[in-house]
Symmetry: C2
Subunit: 228 residues, 2 copies
């Protein structure tokens, strides 16, 4: 009997990821409409509306043109909150470190996280560190989980998209992906391509303040489950 | 020049962990009193008091007598919230999967998480999956981050401990650690020792409801940073 195994494509955001969510993770969530594939979950406590989102970052290499895994870990989670129209309030961060990682690399990454968080005004409130034996992880992995405050009466989500909607794009496409690929594969271009990963709260706030009829905001992140 | 590197002991919760937090992570947090080493962070939004905590689980083996990594990932984070006297509301979970992991193992672990979460009544609201190439992780790592509701006027923390305080212990000591070790090292005992990891919300709620003068509650978790 052939044993079914996890493949790289199960994490790619494509068909196999979708199947894994449908057959394995949705029963865990116990609910959730798979058509509502948003960047964060919406919850309420005492009439306060919050958005919650989680992401692990496993990017290789950990330093790349225009950024590093720490910068990315703050931007990615902050931006998932922004896409719900939520002001980022708190981040937690959990590190899985491979034995032998140079401390200097960790320090550079941690400094980068702190700098990016201060730029957004989000508070890094809790953390965790685990170390695994050499060869049991790839230098370091970072999880960031974020909580944001949702404005009353403003709900965004893929389920509100309609045929004929106009799409606004915040920048050129593919810069981050190409920057990672060029660093990983040693590709050279005449003009170096830098990652454009950046926190989007200022932009999001400006959009919200205009009162424009925006119904969906998305930040493309691999691996997110349907969040509802 | 000798390059300083991460050692296994940096994650053990001992002296090196403490040094790493002091010299590397506290500047990232930008604040935080290192004497307040509690299990979760305390935050407020619109006068609602919340506790937040994060933990990554890298336990080897992933199945052990009395439990598995999924059960542990829910219990660990739920219990860190309980120790703040906080009712667990929401959990996020993020998986880092090693290419080649049997899908059946993942399903067993996910089912175990769902079962444990339902037992507590905590809502698994958001998730994330990443897959890394074979050899770049150790089967799977799970991050769980939790948010809980704090009762007004009840604050617990290590900073409130005083000489002469009496200590109550909720069970026998070391069962979980010995269960893991016996599975990892193939140790045999006349009586098999099972992990006693279990969600502690019912116990915590009972303690809180008595109104007893409890000032510190702790769940020993390796790797947590000072949380404030």
């Amino acid at each position: 009997m052939k044993v079914e195994r996890i493949l790289l494509d199960h994490g790619s955001g494509g068909k196999l990821s979708h199947e894994l969510v449908q057959t394995c993770f949705l029963p865990l969530l116990g609910k959730g409409d798979p058509h509502q594939l948003n960047d964060s979950a919406s919850v309420h406590v005492d009439q306060v509306g919050l958005a919650i989102t989680t992401d692990s970052f496993v990017v290789d290499p950990i330093f790349f043109p225009g950024g590093d895994i720490g910068h990315l870990a703050v931007c990615g989670t902050v931006n998932d909150l922004c896409m719900a129209g939520a002001r980022p309030l708190w981040l937690t961060t959990a590190f899985i470190l491979e034995e032998g990682l140079p401390l200097e690399d960790l320090r550079r990454i941690v400094e980068s996280m702190g700098r990016t968080a201060r730029k957004v005004g989000v508070d890094l409130v809790a953390g965790d560190t685990k170390v695994v034996p050499k060869g049991k992880a790839d230098k370091l992995f970072i999880n960031t989980t974020g909580v944001g405050a949702v404005r009353k009466g403003r709900t965004f989500g893929g389920q509100f998209a309609r045929p004929g909607d106009q799409i606004l794009i915040s920048g050129t496409l593919g810069d981050h992906g190409v920057a990672i690929l060029s660093a990983r594969e040693g590709l050279a271009f005449e003009t170096p391509i830098l990652s454009d990963s950046t926190p989007l709260w200022d932009l999001t706030k400006t959009i919200l303040d205009t009162g424009a009829d925006i119904r969906v905001m998305r930040d493309p992140t691999r691996g997110d489950w349907p969040q509802h």
